[in-house]
Symmetry: C2
Subunit: 577 residues, 2 copies
């Protein structure tokens, strides 16, 4: 049986960093060539990084990116063919957005001996969830030719192409493809690897040929690309799986059965057969983390890459003694190392003793720098300054927000003075219902657990405590009643239903796009539905001004869920509420 030796180059690339990306691709290509590979796969839009968003609307950026690919091509000088994602075709100044023939295209350059021999144009452009590809690209036509690499006829495809039944892959296989090479920038959500591998098995079943699937690994603003590149044999078995959430390069000998009809049908001949060589080492099928371990790895990659790619080596956050900030501190210490983490305790007149002792214990367990700045002086000063305006109006949320905003001011001052990135600590449940203070606890550069519901916050903490057998997060943090401690004897559940009730409701309304009527039909309590729906809707203005958070769900706040702030949609009077 013939084999095609495929190098899977699962790299962490950076949006916009053309020179750096080209350098990393060239270095990985050289290693693939040294390992005797016939073809090396690189991620979708490897040169520009993914997603480049409106950088693609700059004609000069697209041109620079093409020059960068040309420089890369000159380094591709061996037997091995490189398949590299790039932006093909020129964006013209004043281009007519209505002209479907004008490009550019999201494409895979097939490079050999210094030349872009051919380029495949992605046919299926996703336009849902976090994706906006038709804003930038024209779709490639059906019926693009196969490419012959080392005597094997391959269907080169890009990302979404492989997700469609009876789609681009099936059409390519009908032309006689003997292997499918699919390059991706496929973002993470919980359980994504299962979905992904199931789709690939369906493709193999449909076409009867092996599939090599190469994914990007990267944190990019709110998105995590989780790697998990795989090779499936023609019988659907898993030949190789690369690790998730980290870079990896693996060379796999992929058994290929020559298609009936031989080489008779059209293909662009890119390279000839390999010479004699020893077989590649048997590839490893890396385990794919599940449950809290998967989420933890995603959050660590998201934090690490956001910090690194934006030039931060150290971070700071407020440690309240509660579970959310404890989790974020533990993630930050894992992601960046404890020396890079500076926690700040900012007790107020309402802070309990256990908050301070719990926070200090956590900091000590993690080995991070901790400091304490009581907020009372600024708190009293501001109350006095506002007294002439407020007169004898009763205390309300105003005074609670004041404390939270003083903390935001202190963290930002430390950030400005020392160059630390501020991490915010609000979870998805709070973010959904607006249980937060804008410019207070939402102040910072990255909202680490913005997409993590409160119940999962607890699960992650317990998992982390169990992981090394060392309970770094004090048990008392996990067992006390959640409280913002912004007034005497405050507890979350004076304002909110228990999280066991709230979290499923938020999941149905936010992630599930249900309406009030549908929530009632599903048996949720009418008063609760009315209250939670109203809270979620009204908090849109806060979310619009909060920092990006790492997406781990199928519907995260941000580019995934684009709701108007000005929004008059209400349950109909008499509609059940």
């Amino acid at each position: 049986m013939a084999t095609l030796r495929v190098a899977l180059c699962q790299l962490d690339l950076t949006v916009g960093a053309l020179e750096e990306n080209v350098g990393r691709v060239a270095a990985a290509y050289a290693r693939a060539e040294a390992a005797g590979a016939d073809v090396a796969l690189f991620p979708e839009l490897a040169i520009s990084g993914y997603p480049p968003e409106d950088l693609l609307l700059k004609p000069g950026f697209v041109a620079d990116q093409q020059e960068a690919l040309d420089r890369l091509a000159r380094t591709v000088d061996g037997h091995c063919v490189a398949v590299v994602g790039w932006v093909e075709g020129h964006r013209h100044r004043g281009a007519d957005p209505h002209d479907p023939e004008d490009g550019p295209w999201n494409a895979a350059a097939v490079i050999h001996r210094g030349e872009v021999v051919t380029s495949y144009r992605k046919q299926a452009l996703p336009n849902y969830a976090v994706f906006d590809e038709p804003r930038y690209f024209d779709p490639g036509p059906a019926g693009q030719p196969l490419v012959e690499i080392a005597g094997v006829r391959a269907a080169v495809t890009v990302c979404e192409d492989v997700w469609l039944d009876a789609g681009p892959v099936a059409r390519a296989c009908a032309l006689g493809a003997e292997v499918v090479l699919n390059i991706n920038a496929s973002p993470f959500h919980v359980g994504k690897q299962h979905v992904r591998e199931a789709v690939l098995r369906r493709r193999v079943a449909e076409c009867g040929v092996p599939v090599a699937y190469l994914n990007l690994v990267s944190g990019q603003d709110d998105l995590v690309f989780d790697g998990g590149s795989v090779v499936l044999a023609a019988d659907g078995s898993l030949l190789a799986r690369l690790p998730r959430f980290e870079e990896a390069e693996v060379v796999v000998d992929v058994p290929v059965v020559p298609a009936a009809g031989g080489g008779a049908r059209d293909a662009v001949v890119v390279s000839g057969p390999a010479g004699d060589r020893a077989p590649a080492p048997l590839p490893v099928v890396e385990p794919s983390p599940e449950g809290p371990a998967e989420v933890w790895a995603a959050l660590c990659l998201g934090v690490r890459d956001y910090a690194r790619k934006n030039g931060f080596s150290e971070v700071t956050l407020g440690l309240s003694g509660g579970v959310d900030s404890a989790l974020v501190a533990a993630i930050a210490a894992d992601a960046l190392g404890p020396d890079a983490v500076h926690v700040v305790l900012m007790p107020s007149r309402y802070s309990s003793d256990h908050s301070v002792t719990d926070a200090l214990a956590l900091a000590e367990h993690l080995g991070v720098d901790a400091r304490t700045i009581p907020i009372e002086p600024a708190h009293q000063a501001l109350l006095d300054m506002l007294a002439p305006s407020f007169g004898d109006l009763p205390s309300d949320l105003t005074e609670e927000n004041l404390q939270s905003r003083i903390r935001g001011v202190l963290l930002m001052a430390l950030s400005n003075k020392f160059g630390w990135l501020v991490l915010t600590t609000g979870n998805k449940s709070e973010t959904a219902v607006g249980y937060s203070t804008l410019y207070g606890d939402t102040a910072g550069g990255l909202a680490v657990i913005k997409d993590v519901p409160k119940l999962l916050v607890y699960e992650l903490c317990r998992w982390r405590n169990a992981r090394d057998g060392v309970p770094v997060i004090p048990e008392s943090i996990l067992t006390k009643l959640p409280s913002a401690e912004l007034r005497e004897d405050q507890h979350d559940q004076q304002s909110l239903p228990p999280y066991e009730v709230l979290d499923p409701l938020i999941e149905a309304y936010v992630d599930g796009d249900a309406t009030s009527e549908e929530l009632l039909a599903a048996g949720h309590d009418p008063d609760l539905v009315a209250r939670v729906v109203r809270l979620v809707d009204v908090a849109e203005y806060k979310r619009r001004q909060s920092p990006p958070g790492i997406r781990i769900s199928n519907k995260a706040f941000g580019r995934d869920r684009r709701l108007p702030i000005t929004n008059g949609y209400r349950p109909r009077p008499g509609g059940g509420t």
Copy 2:
């Protein structure tokens, strides 16, 4: 010559407010029927409001919206036909985003005597600038039938359809259309009415039939829809223009020449000829404001609708004595009335006497409530609290930001206590280069002049002073050097180039999507280009957390310009900088 009596119902509708929108459409329909109209035109997506964004991903919302249209249809009970924008077709739970036949469609319901007789599906779905229609809608097919209204064969079309040469309108006219009825939600930018009327003249020249163009008038988050509905006769002359930036209802007798071939070709017959009636009054061609007057009207509508539709009757802002906050105060007073405006002076140890006196004079001229809260007590308290961390490190931006953030905290406290909407006062030049303090002067609900460059800020102030012959904005505010007054003897131009230099550079880089290389080729100073490009890029994280601002340009910050925060795109080493 036959006439078709067209009622142009240029309404201000609200996204999501299904009941309210239906009520307003029904009331306007009744007035059109009373005026003997043959057809009444209502805006694109009149029932849902525009743009409903991801509300459209809720199957229940789409269904509610369709029930609302059904209720509206029952009130359409006279001779007059109603053409109403709606979402046609069901969004199914779990719908396959790849299926082009699944709907929904952005459509125009043609309603008569209680029934939706037919519905036209928009063919051209914009996917650029602020538009994302293909995220939500399938395009309608070519070759949809004409509709016969009062004996006249009409091509009903929606918005973008009318912008295309040899597009949906030309195809409809080839089928024998005698008039084009085009309903819109067309957002404003400076000079848009000229562009719009030029496109319509091109359409009339192409097709030789009259065009009735009906636009929405509305402020919706960052977008303003400016009305300016028009009717063009078959010779291209302007029969009617409705006022811009306000609601209006006008009835126009549109002369129609029967098409060659009579009624032979297919059309859906909707209604019969009108009975005897007196001619409608001659329509007015309202003037279209230009220059500063146009921008002023747009900003007032944006402020008024944002406040009203989000439940605010009063606003507050910090008045520094500088030109930006003076402009915003004057706009707010015009938009909402002076009684609705509360300005706050928050002098620091660095504030000059003239700042306070100028600000107080402005407040008095405008007749708005003013109060003064010196920030020194909180300023000193915070410096003392931070002293143990800062030690003897020199003062820097940290201490400047501190003052701005104290002001943000005070304004938000007043907002929380009294329910006032906080208006921010940063202009486009500052927003571009990040000359602002996140959570400080950027803290608020609406950034009124976020899309107004600094030079235009001055122009608007001078225009407002000249308008009524009363210089409400003290001349000294317009002549002194701009300063943030965050340290001794600070002036903007210690940090920034003169605005005469900066504004054109920002326009080329931001609005024009130029790259560094292109700016250099255009003759801009290399050091300045490098500095400004870097400032604009790095400020992306601030803009991402700043409130929505009213769009007046062809490329505003926000949904119009979607750049990554994490962005490694830099001028090439040796590329000229």
